[in-house]
Symmetry: C2
Amino acid sequence: MTSTTDLRPLDAPGRELLFTEARTSNTWSDTPVTDAQLHEIWDLARWAPSAANGQPLRVTFVRDAAGKERLLPHVAEGNQAKVSAAPVTAILAFDPEFHEHFPTTFPARGEMMRENFAGDAGMRAGVADYNAALQTGVLLLAVRSAGLAAGPMAGFDRAGVDAAFHAENGWRSQLLVNIGHPGEDPWFPRLPRLADETVLAWA
Amino acid sequence: MTSTTDLRPLDAPGRELLFTEARTSNTWSDTPVTDAQLHEIWDLARWAPSAANGQPLRVTFVRDAAGKERLLPHVAEGNQAKVSAAPVTAILAFDPEFHEHFPTTFPARGEMMRENFAGDAGMRAGVADYNAALQTGVLLLAVRSAGLAAGPMAGFDRAGVDAAFHAENGWRSQLLVNIGHPGEDPWFPRLPRLADETVLAWA
């Protein structure tokens, strides 16, 4: 028997907050969200794991009126009222040039890894897309951990958002996430989850 | 001022467990992980959000010797000892036919959505890959919430794993995750995170 580092499980209120009672908010109070709160979210989310510590996720926090105006034309009609009402809408994206940072993020072999990734933009985009999505799952729970609600939305024009916000940095948008305090009647009825027999296999 | 549903932030021990002190485990104790613990993990992770509640993530829990033997030839050499030592290795995958379940997962418009997705396998694979990755971020935190350690590994032969485990269900592997109690010296030195200026933008 090898030794074990004991890990304490999360308590019941934490499980409810992040998992079993967690909900996507569909209405928003006008209670503001401060930049300090957005930094608090990132200071949790930054510790998400990623392949070779590549950290491809990038975040643009849109929180002033001019930013919202720039974003709205690219948002699906059914999501526009929510984006207008939320104090902050985060544009989540991946950086297709994330490999340039390997000397920072993986010091032991950074130069070599940067070179390995430099030659294959298609492979790189796949790795960045996947790992930024995994980081996004962690970020959504970080929003809730900060006592705020998250409203992720896939319905928007990615090319339009990239032209409006990512022309200089080359980031590629994946998801919009409203962030704030829930407003009136914020939760839709809980949608069903798939049966274990559909999702889980055993070997 | 619209009304606000108050959400309580996660407490400090919860933040350390899931974010600020969370680490990828690289060694494993032989303390067993029970099927009940694996169900406990899924009973948290199942509540992850996904686009249109599509839930494309699928999980194969490999925990017996025959299963490990089937898996090992497809694992990168540097990861084989970890897979052998861990009580459980989960194969995370997406189901490219996840749209078949829309009548269950999105009852109000399920038949229509199933039909909309049926004609475009390429779009479907992209949506499934992205959303299963997002669900995976939540699942990794669910493992930690159950008091267990997670060791995600991208280094393996996806086609080989799919041939060995997914021949019948058609799932497409994305990540391997060792699950168990950490063994001796389980943590590598913490790798650096990117500076806020590199990751965050403001609008």
